[in-house]
């Protein structure tokens, strides 16, 4: 007979095992879906997860795709660890890109080593400004940060629409909704000739290292952790809750803003309406799949990034609808949440009683 027993303590081993289990279950379910759709499951999975990164170019594209996801997810982990539900990273990314893109346009056709650092900084500040809105409203007016941050995503996209259609549109561009191309001095340097992978990856790696340090080696990290477990305990311990809320939102906004900078000054090279295929939302999956742990987030961003590349390859070579990629992302999150059940409960096999 099988019995389900509540655990006294959430299991730490299971905590890090469930993401792997979730990915495994996603592959099994994905294979099953391919089979039902009439494709050979193993071949389809090969085109989805192996072929896209089988060569140097493919692998560089994987890193390119994972960079913004990793950066945003690291930022979000500051918020999520401390019980602040910032769902609006996409908006912070967009606003960061707007500010940094605006600065880059100011330097149109100018050269200089100082331009890029200013452009990058502007993006981080833009993201922070935008993230400060839900943070301040939450701390001083007790609003729900989930709603505010989410709604601001749509506001930021409308601001971007307005700018690229109107005042910032390329004067030689027949009024199409896009800006001029940034000058080379305002663009992130490429790491290898012929590949699109750019210096933005170092921003993501720096964020990983810094976040690890803050989480596990500083008082702030401890405060965040305590607030995450119990807000009442944090209050009782005398932590300055408001300050911390604002701080984690600012960090999160800066990371999302930098991810936006990486896209527009990296592979895109200008501002237009679609600078991000919803990285800010997908990064939420990445953050949870990585268990809000910096190293976990690196792996999670690579896993989720490959679902994008795989979906393209599978459609080109096997005519599998590209939207399967989103199904995979959804399944990963679903199985992760479902297997979290094992964190708090264990399954016991006991001998049959008569």
């Amino acid at each position: 007979m099988i019995k389900i027993v509540k655990r006294d303590q959430p299991s730490k081993a299971i905590f890090f095992f469930t993401p792997v289990l979730a990915i495994f279950l996603t592959l099994v379910a994905g294979g099953l879906i391919f089979f039902i759709l009439g494709f050979k499951p193993f071949e389809a999975l090969k085109f989805f997860f192996i072929i896209p990164i089988a060569d140097k170019y493919g692998f560089s594209e994987l890193l390119l795709k994972a960079t913004p996801l990793c950066l945003i997810a690291i930022g979000l982990s500051f918020c999520f660890k401390s019980n602040n539900w910032n769902i609006g990273a996409e908006g912070q990314l967009t606003f960061g890109a707007i500010v940094s893109g605006g600065v880059a346009l100011l330097f149109y056709e100018q050269e200089g080593f100082y331009i890029l650092p200013i452009v990058i900084l502007a993006g981080a500040i833009g993201g922070m400004l935008y993230a400060s809105i839900p943070a301040i409203l939450k701390t001083y007016f007790n609003t729900n940060e989930i709603l505010v941050s989410l709604m601001l995503v749509y506001v930021s996209k409308l601001i971007l629409d307005y700018l690229v259609v109107g005042p910032w549109s390329n004067p030689e561009g027949f009024n199409f909704p896009e800006t001029r191309q940034f000058s080379d001095s305002a663009k992130l340097p490429l790491l290898f000739e012929g590949l699109r992978i750019h210096a933005g990856i170092f921003l993501a790696l720096a964020a990983v290292v810094i976040s690890w340090f803050v989480f596990y080696k500083t008082y702030l990290g401890f405060q965040m952790k305590v607030s995450g477990f119990s807000l009442k305990t944090a209050k009782y311990a005398g932590y300055k809750g408001k300050k911390m809320i604002i701080l984690v939102f600012l960090i999160s906004g800066a990371c999302a803003g930098l991810a936006g900078v990486g896209e527009i000054t990296g592979p895109i090279g200008q501002l237009h309406r679609e600078i991000s295929p919803d990285y800010g939302f997908t990064a939420i999956i990445v953050a949870f799949l990585g268990r809000l742990h910096p190293v976990g987030i690196i792996f999670a961003s690579l896993v989720v990034a490959i679902t994008y590349l795989g979906a393209e390859t599978a459609q080109i070579f096997m005519q599998i609808p590209k939207y399967t990629g989103q199904v995979f992302q959804g399944m990963i999150l679903f199985f992760l949440l479902a297997s979290d059940y094992l964190l708090f409960f264990k399954i016991k096999f006991i001998g049959s009683k008569k």
Binding site: G166, F174, I268, Q315, K322
Partner: protein, 356 residues
């Protein structure tokens, strides 16, 4: 029905012809990059109908749907160019820069970019349709059918393509009914059924009894059906989604162009071109005219269609005035393509300002 018969007859002729040609041509593979899902019943759906015509002509095709205009477009293009495709059609404006960038790396692959203007390398062509000719027809119908003299128009983005459509529509409507006003709602989207339905509702509430659209979903014609007003289908024949409301549709017919270009690649006669085809070349097609329209209007529309096709009538024939009353096109003159391509002012009779 008769139109369907003619179309099938023509397409079987085309098929027969291409089968003979394909027998001698080398294996050419064409790829298509779509912005939306093939089932959107609008922009992407019609491009996919065009792709199927290429398949029917005996060529192999590949497509990738839902490719965002973000950094991802470039990767998809490079992968298609790298995997043995000879010609790649990129079917959204936002693919313009990635198309030119990848074209530089693959000089032996031909690139065809829809609705853009950049042809930076000899292996890049551009193509677009003169949809405004179709809107001249719609304007004529709207101006005749309206009772409230208020016509609603759901627009997407304030770019020349859309402004041109609004103007062409309004000019034609004024010609048959000088009292009409065109009210615009900017939806700031190409495809968002929720927003589009809301925009249509707002226009109906303001007294519009005919709704035109320059967005892609079927939400607007369905809203019109519910409210009991008239509407026009966009991109594909939307009659089946709102049989009472839809008077006719302007269909985007890419098939002939696609077959033509892929064949040119196969024969080695492909060259760089900037194509802008209208009703005359069959890139813009008017669907069946609804029987709710009076017979004399239907025959008038048929004649107008023939005249637009032959070039006897031009959608922008002077005198045309802007909203402030300044002369845009003098009497007896027609607007040239340069003016049309950069058109960013409303003509007289359109209400409101272009968002800036």
């Amino acid at each position: 029905m008769h139109k369907f018969l003619i179309r099938s007859f023509v397409s079987s002729l085309v098929l027969l012809f291409t089968l003979t040609v394909a027998a001698v041509a080398k294996d050419v593979k064409a790829a298509f990059v779509y912005i939306g899902p093939t089932g959107d019943h609008g922009w992407t759906y019609q491009h996919d109908v065009g792709r199927k015509a290429v398949e029917a002509a005996g060529f192999k095709t590949t497509y990738v749907e839902g490719v965002p205009e973000s950094a991802d477009a470039e990767r998809v293009l490079r992968q298609l160019a790298n995997s043995g495709h000879d010609v790649i059609f990129t079917t959204s404006f936002g693919y313009m820069n990635p198309t030119n960038k990848v074209a530089k790396e693959f000089p032996n692959v031909k690139f065809e970019h829809a609705t853009g203007y950049k042809r930076e390398h000899p292996n890049v062509s551009t193509y677009a349709a003169r949809f405004y000719e179709g809107r001249t027809i719609l304007g004529t119908i709207a101006g005749t059918m309206t009772k409230s003299n208020v016509i609603g128009y759901v627009a997407s983005f304030p770019i020349p393509e859309v402004i041109r459509g609004i103007n062409s529509f309004t000019l034609a409507a004024q010609k048959v009914n000088p009292n009409i006003k065109t009210k615009i709602v900017w939806a700031f989207t190409w495809y968002d059924p929720g927003k589009e339905a809301e925009a249509a509702k707002a226009l109906i509430d303001q007294g519009a009894d005919v709704i035109a659209q320059h967005t892609d979903s079927t939400a607007i014609v369905q809203m019109a059906e519910k409210a009991g007003v008239y509407a026009f289908g966009q991109a594909s024949d939307m009659d089946k989604f709102a049989p009472k409301a839809v008077l006719t549709s302007v269909e985007n017919n890419w098939g002939p162009y696609y077959v033509d270009r892929v064949k040119a690649v196969a024969n080695g006669t492909w060259n760089q071109k900037d194509t802008w085809h209208g009703i005359g070349d069959g890139m813009v097609v008017i669907s069946d005219l609804d029987s709710q329209m009076p017979a004399d209007l239907r025959s008038k529309v048929k004649k107008l269609q023939a005249d637009l096709a032959s070039g006897k009538v031009h959608s922008f024939t002077g005198p045309i005035y802007d909203q402030k009353g300044n002369l845009m096109v003098a009497e007896g003159k027609t607007a040239d393509d340069g003016m049309l391509a950069g058109m960013m002012t409303y003509v007289k009779g359109v209400e409101g300002d272009i968002p800036k």
